[in-house]
Symmetry: C2
Subunit: 172 residues, 2 copies
DNA sequence: ATATCTCATGTGATCTTATAACATTAGCAG
DNA sequence: CTGCTAATGTTATAAGATCACATGAGATAT
């Protein structure tokens, strides 16, 4: 690819979606919403679980389980893989976090509580991940599934490419 | 972005993988086609690469890299991971094989030479994988990408659920 | 208040998946 | 044949995920 991308040595966490926003508010708001939702549904947002969610909201990009584990250790939690994986399992199961299959990594949900099928746009240059909605039952896949008699339970929809910011940098 | 796709699924067998077919012919035919396509494009379908493709065609389901590696060893090839991964890289890069991200496994392409975006239906009961076409630019994801200015280069579209055969078994 | 049940966490070991690094070999061009 | 390039072989290790079992914290019912 083009050489001017080398200047991107600094892989800073880009935005949710691909735009700027008030990050502190976004983190604390999301955490508060999670607290509330767990209370409503009788779920236990325990310290580890809450911390993992906070980390993912804070970093605002997809993190591998072992990166999370390192951060957990720094925060004084257990440092063996199951600690991270169990918290992630809980968060994924309850819709607070999604797994990005293409990256074997996890990202805080951008639309929690809406019971949606997520779709991701993954920038191969800066690793930013933006979440969009997908409508699996409507497209070609849904049609193929209906035609074949396949019952869809869950979908993985991920696009890899270049985010607007990196496109700009590359063409300027 | 939705209704025009129904015709697409009707014109062909819905998905290779959920129905019977003449398997020997399908394997040898696909191998011959691969030979030809490589010759045309100046690619080297070396013995390991050809063997990996043959194994995937033969098994007709998604295989993990280490399963393939075992089969390669049985066939007298090198038995270290890079042997399998390099052959798989070649086959994936040139469209003979797809990676199923959800399974971290590989499957022979059902529509080689058509330069398509694959979509998969993965049965969580019997592990069968069927390939369909996807039309990433048409659905919600394509719309979101255009709106955001994201340039899609590659898409991962995978549905997890229950295949027709396993649905039948479950309800009978 | 305490016994007890359940769910969550801590920990060590292990398994699966994937890549880095470097030596060797095969196929091709001059 | 020589020297280049692409492919393979091989060792080692990184990265991702799970199993099994011990310990602890919260709720509930006496």
């Amino acid at each position: 690819m083009t050489s001017d991308l080398a200047s991107l040595s600094d892989k800073e966490a880009p935005a949710l979606g691909f735009h700027e926003h008030d990050h502190d508010t976004c983190v604390s708001g999301a955490l508060a919403a999670a607290d509330e939702r767990c209370a409503e549904k009788g779920l236990r947002l325990t310290p580890v679980r809450r911390k993992v969610l906070e980390l993912l909201l804070q970093e605002h990009r997809a993190l591998g389980a072992y990166t999370i584990l390192d951060l957990l250790r720094d925060a004084g939690f257990g440092s063996q893989p199951p600690v991270a994986y169990r918290a992630l399992d809980f968060l994924v199961e309850n819709g607070f976090v999604h797994k990005v299959e293409r990256l074997n990594a996890f990202v805080a949900c951008a639309h929690p509580g809406e019971n949606h099928s997520p779709a991701f746009m993954i920038c191969r240059v800066c690793d930013a991940v933006a979440e969009a909605y997908s409508t699996p039952s409507k497209g070609a896949l849904g049609a193929a599934a209906r035609a074949a008699g396949f019952q869809i339970e869950r979908t993985v929809v991920e696009a890899e490419g270049v985010c607007p910011a990196c496109v700009d940098k590359a063409t300027s």
